[in-house]
Amino acid sequence: MTDKEVLLEIHHLKAYFPVKRKSMKEAKKVVKAVDDISIDIFRGETLGIVGESGSGKSTFGRAILKLVEPTAGEILYKGQAIHHLKGRELQKYRNQMQMIFQDPFASLNPRMRIGAIIDEPMALQLPLTKEQRKKRVRELLQKVGLPEDAMHKFPHEFSGGQRQRIGIARALAINPEFIIADEPVSALDVSIQSQVLNLMMDLQDEFQLTYLFISHDLSVVKHISDRVAVLYLGRIVEVGTKKELYAHPLHPYTQALLSAIPVVNFDEPKQLVPLQGELPSPMNPPIGCVFHTRCPFVMEQCRLARPPLQQKNEHQQVACFLYEK
């Protein structure tokens, strides 16, 4: 790990959203979508973020891009703090990173031609002439496996998988170093899913990209990631290298998540072990460990204090009192 260059350092990131009150008498409430997340992202790696809906994984990605304003915490990009960046400085920071969105139907402007969609970020961010940009659009379309004449067409003429390719071409247009992919394959069919995943991996090799790959699908995350962080109610409960985390999950929540996935195995059929209960409301998260209301190994101290994220072994960090010495 030590020989790797840290691209992004995230310290105690918090993103809270105020909730509308019914009357002035009520206490002020906030949804703690991201609650104290600290993690380093290394250059060239794919960090997978998994969690169920409401775990704060999308907000986390957006907060890094400052698409939602973080409530507290610090983000260092190549050692430089970005929290106070504004205007031109912020734009300079943002043109190093791009986002790929989940819904390929909603993330492309239906009234723009594909050429214009891919051209727009370049026109805004890069000092290129119109001709140069046009040439680059062609190159990008070819890179993502679309025919050149696609640039004259509109988004509705493409299938979901093709649209996701267009979204990827747009993200690559300004030569970013870091790409946040928020559920990029969740809306696609399996046969198309693997095409897009392979494309993303090829492009990563070619352009030395760093990915933050957000998904609820643990099998997809396992396939593409180097390291995986598991989120529950806005907090990281476990983070580790892919191999270790999937083979020896430490946190009871990670264990539950993994055991909930159906598998194809007729020789040793696995009994699904459903987690009891429901995800607590992020408006009113449990005191102490956020998972204690559903944890099969809950202890007295879990209800009182919040376990910190600690290095358990060379490859894994976990936030759980079971592993406190």
Binding site: S159, S191, Q193, S219, K222, P262, V263, N265
Partner: protein, 342 residues
């Protein structure tokens, strides 16, 4: 199709053709010559990608197709020896929610937002059973408890927006099971749910199925869910069933190139490879189907014959059917002897 002696046929679909009349005058064949049987008490999975016609097949059984523009142009659907396609609306409404009931993918839109959960449950029960409101309420309470809702009395008085996705799907299941249906059609019941909730719902469905001995037609795109739940599997591609087999045979000895590819492309927790194999191209739209085999343009084993002639369904072994020229007599004549694809 052959019949096992000890099994009773519950539903039989024969040569079902469904088409949609498009605004530009074209016809889209969304279901094309689909035949299958569901025996009493078994779980049959219908898998396929979006646009393969799996939901259209199930809506045809329920007679819930939007008509027009949809049209069942040929075929028969018989449930317990009654021809569903010949029934009028009144007769059909006695079947729906009673002998056959359905749960949908999106629990948010399948419950009525202006009635309480209790209201909707009692309506479903009293529609098919002659019991008092009070008895219906008791039955609703008991059903909610069976599907694992703890504070059932409170939930009865609540509206759908007050419940989480998993809770809503539990309520939908409670309503669907309220009249002990012989056939439950579950159309992507867990697709909108998180994995941990999905595990809860699947376990619940299997438990109820056992208790009430209902048959389930499970429609999904997720092969691992199929492996965990189904007895038999039917794979659909571009409006046709391309392979049908008992679950074990389908996963261990898939025959159709599409099934083989589908199983290889899905990332699972076990696979540990750098690149996933993928199927090139996309599913053809229902208004522009290729002339011969539907899968021919994407098939790695395509022969010239496949591009012109649609293969017939071939029975390979007990309960294992496949629609592919690699296994037909006429295909064998033009094939140079390479019959193994796995």
């Amino acid at each position: 199709m052959e019949q096992a002696q000890d099994k009773q046929v519950l539903l039989e679909v024969k040569h079902l053709h469904v088409q949609f009349h498009l605004k530009n005058g074209k016809k889209a064949k969304v279901v094309d010559d689909v035949s299958f049987v569901i025996y009493k008490g078994e779980t049959v999975a219908l898998v396929g990608e979006s646009g393969s016609g799996k939901s259209m097949t199930s809506l045809s059984i329920m007679r819930l197709l939007p008509m027009p523009p949809g049209e069942i142009s040929a075929g028969t659907i018989t449930l317990n020896d009654k021809n569903l396609l010949a029934m009028n609306n009144k007769e059909m409404s006695k079947i729906r929610g009673n002998e056959v009931s359905m749960i949908f993918q999106e629990p948010m839109t399948s419950l009525d937002p202006v009635f309480t959960i209790g209201n909707q449950m009692m309506e479903a029960i009293r529609r098919h059973q002659k019991i008092s409101t009070k008895q219906a309420k008791e039955k609703s309470l008991q059903l909610l408890k069976e599907v694992g809702i703890g504070n059932a009395e409170k939930v009865l008085t609540e509206y759908q927006h007050q419940l989480s996705g998993g809770m809503r799907q539990r309520v939908m299941i409670a309503i669907a099971m309220s009249n002990n249906p012989q056939l439950l059609i579950a159309d992507e019941p867990t697709t909108a749910l998180d994995v941990t909730v999905q595990a809860q719902i699947l376990t619940l469905m299997m438990k109820l199925k056992k208790e009430q001995q209902s048959a389930i037609l499970f429609i999904t795109h997720d092969m691992s869910v199929v492996a965990e739940t189904a007895d038999r599997v039917m794979v659909m591609y571009a409006g046709q069933i391309v392979e049908e087999a008992p679950v074990r045979a389908l996963f261990l000895q898939p025959k159709h190139p599409y099934t083989v590819a589908l199983l290889k492309t899905m990332p699972t927790l076990e696979t540990d490879i750098k690149r996933l194999p993928s199927i090139p191209g996309t599913v053809p739209p229902a208004y522009a189907l290729p002339e011969g085999c539907r899968f021919a343009p994407r098939c790695p084993f395509v022969m010239e014959h496949c591009r012109h002639v649609l293969p017939e369904v071939t029975l390979l072994q007990h309960q294992h059917h496949v629609r592919c020229h690699l296994y037909t007599e006429e295909g064998a004549l033009v094939n140079d002897g390479q019959r193994s694809i796995t």
